[in-house]
């Protein structure tokens, strides 16, 4: 009896926990009357039918309750607002299922292009294929679909490269000698796996004779609150920590606080990922927060631009013939005290 009730409570609460964090806000940036920023001096129309009237673009993204995802939405909206001929709508979905339903709904409205940052690439592949089959070009952002016919174009950051850059930086700073803690993102998603794999692969290459040991590797769920608690426990377990590689700038703030609370901020340094304002300010200041690896949310702006070009049947003038590439991988970059001034303009909060 009580067991049954507990299970019901626990299951229902767990289901809703994933659902209710998001409150979708439909932002109808419809007829934005901002200055027409016609930067598409396409030397020739890449074929296809050109549209009369505005191009309708719908973007579907996970809940933007996280700095980086928030910046993704903001960048997409700003890019769309800069065109007179774009009718733009941004949809947020709490989980994979509701995102699929949302896109299903959008397909029936027949927009000219669909920009999708899927909660989970694999789970959203079938519905993206459906959109493509219905003649709506899909531009896939950040987390990739698992089938090539699910997207007309893909733009993504290089999570593996982020891990590689972090390993290169930490190996050099430590001269291949020291203990490293890795605070990962959300367990079980490709972003986390790649950031982790790139890191451990490159550590082996950078220090072929060993010397750097990853003494703890725990997920902090991209959440400062979890990052704090996990790091508190790791600090208890490990006497000697020389560097901490965290997978995210937001989460890193909790990790930073755990280290400071323990009074061990002079014994180690820490790196983030993303490029948030907070992180860059701390890097500039110097001290515990030594570097972050840029994972630029401006890729969402590029995605909207690509969606518009595809819908208009145009392409990148620099390409011969001018077309929109099938795949763009945005390079990662190492931001340290030396070059932070150059990158601050790309930071987000």
């Amino acid at each position: 009896m009580s067991l049954k009730r507990l299970l019901t409570v626990v299951m229902a609460a767990a289901l809703l926990a994933f659902g209710a964090v998001a409150c979708g806000d439909d932002d109808d940036g419809g007829d934005s009357a901002s200055s027409g920023n016609d930067n598409t001096a396409a030397s020739g129309s890449g074929g296809g039918g050109s549209n009369d009237g505005p191009v309708t673009i719908v973007a579907s993204v996970p809940p933007t309750d996280h700095g980086w995802l928030g910046a993704i939405s903001k960048n997409a909206k700003e890019a769309a607002d800069s065109y007179d001929d774009v009718d733009f709508r941004l949809l947020e979905a709490a989980d994979s299922d509701s995102q699929a339903q949302q896109i299903e709904q959008v397909i029936s409205e027949k927009p000219d292009a669909l920009v999708v940052l899927p909660q989970d690439g694999e789970a959203l592949t079938p519905v993206a294929q459906k959109a493509e089959a219905a003649g709506i070009p899909v531009i896939n952002v950040d987390r990739t679909f698992s089938a090539p016919d699910a997207a007309t174009a893909t733009i993504l950051g290089d999570n593996y490269q982020i891990g590689v850059l972090a390993a290169t930086y930490i190996a050099e700073e430590l001269n291949c000698d020291g203990n490293v803690v890795e605070i990962q993102g959300l367990a079980g998603i490709s972003v986390t796996e790649e950031r982790s794999k790139g890191f451990s692969d490159e550590l082996k290459k950078a220090c072929p004779d060993g010397g750097i040991e990853i003494v703890a590797k725990q997920p902090g769920d991209f959440n400062p609150d979890t990052g704090l608690k996990v790091m508190e426990n790791i600090l208890q377990a490990q006497d000697q920590i020389d560097a901490v590689y965290t997978h995210d700038d937001d989460m890193a703030q909790g990790v930073v606080q755990a280290i400071r609370n323990a009074g061990r901020d002079d014994d180690m340094f820490l790196t983030g990922v993303g490029g948030s304002q907070d992180a860059m300010a701390q890097i500039e200041e110097g001290g515990l927060y030594r570097a972050t690896f840029l994972y630029n949310p401006s890729m969402a702006a590029s995605a909207v631009n690509m969606a518009r070009l595809i819908a208009l049947g145009e392409g990148f003038p620099e390409l011969v013939p001018p077309e929109v590439p099938r795949q763009i991988i945005v390079p990662a970059a190492t931001v340290t005290q030396d070059n932070v001034a150059d990158y601050e303009q790309y930071s987000f909060n």
Binding site: V9, A12, A20, C23, D65, A237, N261
Partner: protein, 344 residues
């Protein structure tokens, strides 16, 4: 008007059945004992597997500090569940309370303003639960589920989805925070014991006294045991039910202060799934979800169990998947232990 002690004690309310009550209490003692053994066992396992880093004073301090946030919430949850209710909104209210306190002191303000703001806001949210349940007659599960969503939304809205930094309240110092600065509540110590642990212990002891030594405590248990009988016996049922949700909100506010003090900021995504930890701790502690039976001591041990597991698992660097399986199994095992006793 007084309520005979026998009525609250066994949870049978007006139909106080002495032998049955005795048997329940007897069986329960074994169960509470079992949880105590589990806590000791976990500690011993930790001491064997990580002798240098687990059974240290510093780590005990760390575990108790970590336990204090969910612990304070779980004490409130014990009162709620004793009335056969549930509060699913605690994690979301925690985030909303922190953010509300945070925007009050951003860019300038004092620790006191932050604390009062956070506690008042959480209490207000708890009061909305209370009114919806006691006067609107909404089922607690649904009312607090709605608040679960509302409070998280508020937390995200308050500062445009961004965290609020609170380090200015500490004058920028970390190692040895000034007394009564915000960070002091998170990491400061008196006689080697962290402030947040005093708060947790204080709330636990107060909760135990109120529940077991006051007429109000007997009302709470009586309402959960048999609402009709309690009403007939003259218990102010509606006011009692209202009070437990307000209390839950108030304690969530205190927990929010403890968490934000340690984190040095208020984050709109904090408190995620805290309701599961709190409900889990209450249930493995022996408080019945059916109401009418509340064990503050059990809740305390339940919270410690989760803190021990979390610390041990991180120290062993086990993956989250393993942690989830172990934690879920312990909840299931503890509740299964409760079952035969419930049948007697």
């Amino acid at each position: 008007m007084t309520i005979p002690p026998a009525m609250g004690g066994g949870g049978g309310a007006a139909t106080a059945d002495e032998p049955l009550t005795d048997r329940r209490l007897g069986a329960f003692r074994i169960q509470e004992y079992a949880l105590l053994i589990a806590v000791i066992l976990l500690f011993v396992i930790g001491a064997i597997l990580r002798p240098d880093t687990f059974p240290t004073i510093d780590n005990v301090r760390n575990m108790l500090t970590q336990a204090s946030v969910v612990g304070v919430i779980a004490i409130g949850m014990t009162f709620v569940i004793a009335t056969a209710g549930i509060d699913l909104s605690v994690g979301s209210m925690l985030a909303a309370a922190g953010l509300f306190g945070g925007i009050l002191v951003d860019p300038e303000g004092s620790t006191l303003v932050f604390i009062l703001g956070a506690v008042a806001f959480a209490t207000a949210l708890g009061s909305i639960n209370a009114i919806a349940i006691a006067y609107g007659r909404v089922v607690p599960f649904i009312a607090t589920l709605a608040m679960f969503s509302i409070a998280r939304g508020i937390a995200l809205l308050l500062n445009d989805k961004l965290p609020v930094g609170l380090l200015d309240l500490n004058g920028g110092s970390f190692g040895d925070p000034a007394a009564f600065s915000l960070l002091w509540f998170g990491t400061g110590r008196i006689l080697g014991i962290p402030i947040s642990v005093y708060v947790f212990l204080g709330v636990t002891i107060a909760g135990w006294l109120v529940l077991n030594r006051t007429r109000y405590g007997r009302y709470v248990v009586a309402v959960g045991g048999n609402r009709e009988a309690a009403r007939i016996a003259g218990v102010p049922v509606r006011r009692t039910i209202m009070s437990v949700y307000i209390l839950s909100g108030f304690l969530v506010g205190i927990a929010a202060v403890l968490l934000c003090a340690r984190l040095g900021s208020a984050s709109p995504v904090s408190g995620n799934l805290y309701e599961l930890d709190a409900i889990g701790a209450v249930v493995i502690g022996g408080t019945s979800l059916a109401g009418g039976k509340a064990r503050i001591g059990g809740t305390f041990l339940g919270v410690l169990t989760f803190a021990l597991i979390f610390s041990l698992m991180t120290q062993l660097d086990l993956s989250t998947e393993v942690q989830q399986v172990v934690k879920g199994s312990i909840v299931l095992g503890a509740v299964l232990l409760q079952r035969p006793e419930a049948r007697l």
